[in-house]
Symmetry: D3
Subunit: 331 residues, 6 copies
């Protein structure tokens, strides 16, 4: 795919005015407060993952509306003490997968929480339904238009709340260093990580790869790829709902979360990414209020930096975690 978005030198200074509603913060604080009325009720069950060097637990906790959300917790076998933890969110259509599938951060010596996405599970297996009655009507397929006529009904309100509760949950675990909680994800996972980093003060650092759901009102006009295309298809049918739909999505826009994040972050972007166009990624990155760096992959589409970026992430994690913990006071 050829370059189709802004050139890199413009991207580096791209600072669009992304619409945000005045009650954005209130919306989220009340949403989280409401969710926290439910007992978190973290449960852990050891599972047989078939592996010799990684221990895996089937974790569940109360997410949005108290709905049970599942995750895998992977620990390097034989590790002692409290480990830094990476809470990883999966991409669009993916669940937590099978127990042995994604253990990379545990292999690297960290606690690794692989969360389910409620109601998802096409590309990797999922175990968490989305029992909300607020599904709305609209296009077949996808999550982006579920409940799009009201922020309170929207699917991503539930999913992002689950993510914040996942951070709540790991903070309670015996093997985890609650002062070193990192969030991570690619594509939809990056969008979730942006929300979690903005909404949960305990997040220590974030890894945001080719994030989805950023600068949505631009994205829906410059790409015709799924999942953004779901919004286009919806508005092509419901021609009278552009205002209400884009207003709803603004509550979940990464470019609105980014200025509310003060923790350190490593982003990545692909300049030929037609699924999450680079200008939408930079709209979030340039607004990020904490220390930050970004890896640029000039010839990649939405696969992004892939295995090369993994190397960079492992190196970055080592570097970031070698700094004094914010929870440790020298005396």
């Amino acid at each position: 795919m050829a370059l189709f978005d802004l050139p890199l030198d413009e991207l580096e200074h791209y600072a669009p005015r992304v619409p945000v509603q005045p009650d954005f913060d209130e919306f989220w604080s009340s949403t989280l407060a409401e969710a926290r009325l439910h007992d978190l009720a973290v449960a852990l069950e050891p599972v047989d993952n078939g592996l010799a060097v990684i221990d895996t637990f089937d974790v569940s906790f109360a997410g949005f509306a108290g709905d049970r959300v599942r995750a895998w917790l992977h620990l390097p076998r034989g590790a002692s003490g409290r480990l830094p933890v990476i809470v990883e969110f999966a991409g669009y259509g993916s669940g937590r997968g099978l127990a042995h599938q994604n253990t990379i951060y545990a292999q690297a010596g960290y606690a690794h929480l692989v969360t389910d996405n409620r109601g998802q599970g096409q590309w990797t297996v999922g175990d968490t339904p989305d029992p909300s009655p607020a599904s709305g009507t609209g296009p077949i397929g996808g999550y982006l238009t579920r409940g799009i006529t009201a922020p309170g009904d929207h699917y991503y309100r539930r999913l992002f709340t689950d993510a914040v509760r996942a951070v709540d949950a790991v903070a309670t675990l015996a093997n985890v260093d609650a002062s070193r909680i990192m969030v991570a994800g690619a594509s939809q996972g990056g969008a979730i990580a942006l929300a979690a980093a903005a909404l949960h003060p305990a997040v220590f650092a974030a890894m945001i790869d080719i994030p989805f759901l950023c600068h949505v009102d631009r994205a829906v006009r410059i790409t015709d790829r799924l999942p953004y295309r779901e919004v286009v298809d919806y508005l092509a049918r419901y021609r009278d709902r552009e205002g209400v739909a884009l207003r709803t999505l603004s509550y979940f826009d990464g470019a609105n979360f980014a200025p509310r994040i003060t923790t350190e972050a490593l982003y990545s972007v692909a300049l030929m990414d037609t699924t999450c166009p680079p200008s939408t990624v930079y709209a979030a990155y340039n607004a990020h209020a904490g220390p930050k760096e970004i890896a640029v992959y000039p010839f990649n589409d939405h696969e992004g930096g892939g295995e090369f970026h993994r190397v960079r992430q492992l190196e970055w994690l080592g570097r970031v975690l070698s700094r004094p913990s914010p929870g440790v006071t020298s005396s």
Copy 2:
């Protein structure tokens, strides 16, 4: 699309053994009994459809679990007395549309109920959500895999129950001749009409076009087109669920409803239909227990007989309705 299924002479005698569970009838009778515990609560509101010769009402009634289901009722303006009624079910991804969109049977002089499909509304506008918590996990997109691990949770249990309640609802209307209720639909609409005709004794006749959801265990093996492909995609991911998934779908299989239908019916089939392959249509048609005829379109794909078949339907309706009403006793 070239011919890819059985030749016509084999189709005409095709009588496969379609799996059916022993509690099929019990499943449906208890499902309907439960739904009928909710007050039907039919409501009618006149709407401005912009038309001079058709009156349209916004109808709602209690469907599955008492959820409100919407429909349009069209009447030829100035009609007096009780009219035969066609209850029409929409295809996959479609809702009832806007009020002026589909008035064909009212133009032809009948009462015409155009029902919504809960949670649908991509190809035509929908107004009825599916508030059920039983959505399950699974592939992005589609309704076929929602709740596929248990018949009681499956989406089509709710949708078919809505259809039966739609028949309940029209029977209460002042302008409608309750002894002349017909059900109709194409593709998914044909599947719904099959269910309604089998499950509701008040149905007088049925028009079943290129029906979806018939002989599912064959369909998923001979076509890779959506929506059947949703099942294939699901089983390609959840490789351990073939048994449970196909068992669930058997409760909604038109080939299991057809032998339970004794009313008269007009079917249609297209021999190059790769969405609803002809052998799956004949599996239902050949099992249909009432008087029947079928229009065969040799060179059509899933568009079927289209406007030509509409002519045949109008002629067939006139013929069927000219017979003595079952509700009329000569004396």
Copy 3:
């Protein structure tokens, strides 16, 4: 499909210099004069459309070169007096269809003439051949390159002349108010309506949707979709004919008809329309010399405003027709 043409604020002021030949008006006046040498010979036959509230007549009249052109005339049953009439032209590859297919304006209380396109009839059935010997050589498929080497031979000379004669024909009908003749059409139908509104002084108002054949010399350079692509394919083969081909097409360019139209019009445009790009629509709209308004559909491709725009059209028709007729003098 993402936005690919000019942004909306530029479109609203887009006023390109569209090439026009000095004998444009002479070409058309002599063409029409010649056609009118043939007796119009309007014929009406009632047909059985299977409908109870609409009467349909099979109409024919002498079009270009006196060739017989067919149309359906729909009237609301029982209407009395002279009705305003909508003369509707069909899109590319479509004929008048079957008698019951498109009755929307008759349902709305108007006389409704649905015309055939000579030689067309792929998407809906057609009944009018194009017996002209002036077909030329060139690419397989399509009408755009038929006779492209000379304006006098070009297919659209014949088709647009048929349209003018259709207006002549409806003006003679007993049930029609000849002072309230409206023309309408989408895509190719919009191109025909533009021509008819410019060429026939009896046209009272026009509805022009996502019109084809506007600002052709730009269209063939910015879209690779059919039907404009037929011109590209032709010039890719006949590399020496760019001048003559574009000169010929300028005689049929809506952007050259628009400044010659003084009647009121409702346009529509879709900003993601890759078949009839928005700048080519605005090239006509901005040049339209009469009262005008335009409905903008930001997320639609060539399906345009669809059923939502129909609602707007019915409302607009009511508004426009409530004004004093030009044929009525107050005294």
Copy 4:
């Protein structure tokens, strides 16, 4: 493309009953008689082809209805005496091209007539219009459905008659040995050559490659590729015309011409040919009444034997022409 038709050993014995009308021969004899009422009026103009070893003439003659048909005549420069001639017919959508484009048989030492296809000219340039008024209505694109409702109106009646007249024309040329006229063509060109060989007694031999228009009633059911698909698309719209359309096409079916050919022929077939499926080619080949051989290309789609088959053709021509001329009596 994988094998999709019958296996080779079945093909070699494939002898379907191809429908033929009782007046088939009468249809053609009267058609040709009528065409021959027009003066053949062969005209030759030398043209500058830019070549040093080939002389080219722009030939024209009276085809169907006396319409002027164009062709190139290529001669090896400096050839003396009367040369055997190959009359070559072009494929679907092709004209005679430019004067230097196709000279292969002249390079090989023969006279070479490259004929135009009336109204065609997309893939190579054409110079011959199809001025017939009998175009009919129907699908956009293609020639197969032009006039499909009556054999007398069908496009191929005109095109095949042109071909017979082309043979008439070459027989009059000073440089040509009229006892050694060969016809040749691939795909549509093969269909034309079959017709010419059956209809013109002066044809000495024929080269028929991957011929189109053979066993049409099977072809339209086993392939969805153009051009056969034009018939499918037509019948998918005009659902009531299967009988009349296939009856019309039977007058132009190569499998009906083949049993009427007694001259020697070289055929070729490709077993993965989805445009002209191998069983349809064998339906003609197996019915061919004269001496014959066939080159089989097992892994080719519609490109067939290409440059390898050209080598075989040149060898075959040398062999066939070394036999005593039918016009030479030994004494």
Copy 5:
């Protein structure tokens, strides 16, 4: 993708006669003997993989013609004693990847050798060139046609020899139990594993997933997917080489290796696999001469059993390895 090959009950008994040359065994014994003239020269370098629980070594050894071949050796950190080893071969177009990418068998407690494919490296990074001069001419792309005119020149002679030498190499390693060498691979990797298991007596067991290069003379006729399509494309151009090409490929056909394998094996097959059709997999499986089982995935295309099959493999490995080692004698 719908079912397109034989039904399962026929597959289970499918025993085609796959062509094999009389010197097949001699070809391979001399090939290997020649390769073993080169010093194996195994080299190991520890690398930083960024992981805490896996140690990785950059391995190289002398493959075909003594060319250096690279691999990763992964060991569970802290393991002591000699470990069973899985030698894994990568799929078409893949190299060994980066050091952290594929460690699954080491995570499971085994030694894990991930080998490079010479000259490959599109889907995962490769580090091993193919310096052979025997590349031949032919279609762009792919390995299947490199050297296809002579078995001695063919690419897979080199690649399979590398695989045998990889087994030679692991047998020399200090951490490896040479009596417990397993080979594994999917698609092309399965083809290589079949060759290695047949050609190397030290192989203890094999895991063969959806193998490529089996029953090639059938495969090239029933699928048009790459990579088999490379052969079709080659023979479509080089129409005179069917015999020589298929003869060459017979030396590398898994269905010829399978009857020469007596070790235990776990196969997998996907019934909707259009890349490696199920009948070609069963042609090898049914001929396999050792103990065997096969996992059947009815709704999968070439992704096969994926993560579900991994679970089965880990379970199978545990079961197979719990049996007495062939190298251990009880006394």
Copy 6:
């Protein structure tokens, strides 16, 4: 394909700074010097091409590293004296074809050398392998990434050297006028002709059509079509090699050869060419240091001027060759 690159008036003045390494000239002079250490060893064998007016010889000579390179030499039969010669290079994936396939310049009265491309031969048959060991690793398919990590290893070093040696070879032939050697080619053939014209002082004139491999660092960013896409695919995998890869390709960039060419040239460009975008062609054309003209085809994709441009070439050749030969001194 719509216009996607710069408008024509900008193209005509487009003069980008194309990166070039300081040792560019040294790289090529040493490369050629090294190749010329091998005896050229031109061999000619007459072949039977089946033609009567063209004589063809199978030519071979020592190319890069002394590897044997094949070509066809075509001569008009009976020509006497030394003829001007056109050395023609084939496009991507093509070889010299069969002996009768491409004789156009010999038909026009010139000597015509049709060269093979080493290792190629998909679209037309090839007879010359590429026995170099320097193939590297990387993406499946294509020549552009073979040896991309070092200029000395790159495939095009070998291919361009073969081209220079082809010119050396024709200069030795008895029938050829060594003062009138022309090079020609389209696409990859144009790239080779650019290299040969720059690197060989005996080249008298050049015909460069829609050349590939010009301004590569722009091309890989503005088109996603093959073959440029091979570079994109390579860099999408090997994300750390952008610098080294583009540096290597700069040694083969036509925009770097063009300023080194002082002979007369005819170029052609297609404005809708998505394979070799027009700005990359103009980057070479505008830098060409000799007399030049360019044919612009506004509506063509990569097929360019085709048969129309052939006419222009034959005319241009006649004009250029009518000038006094540089090898002829007037006295």
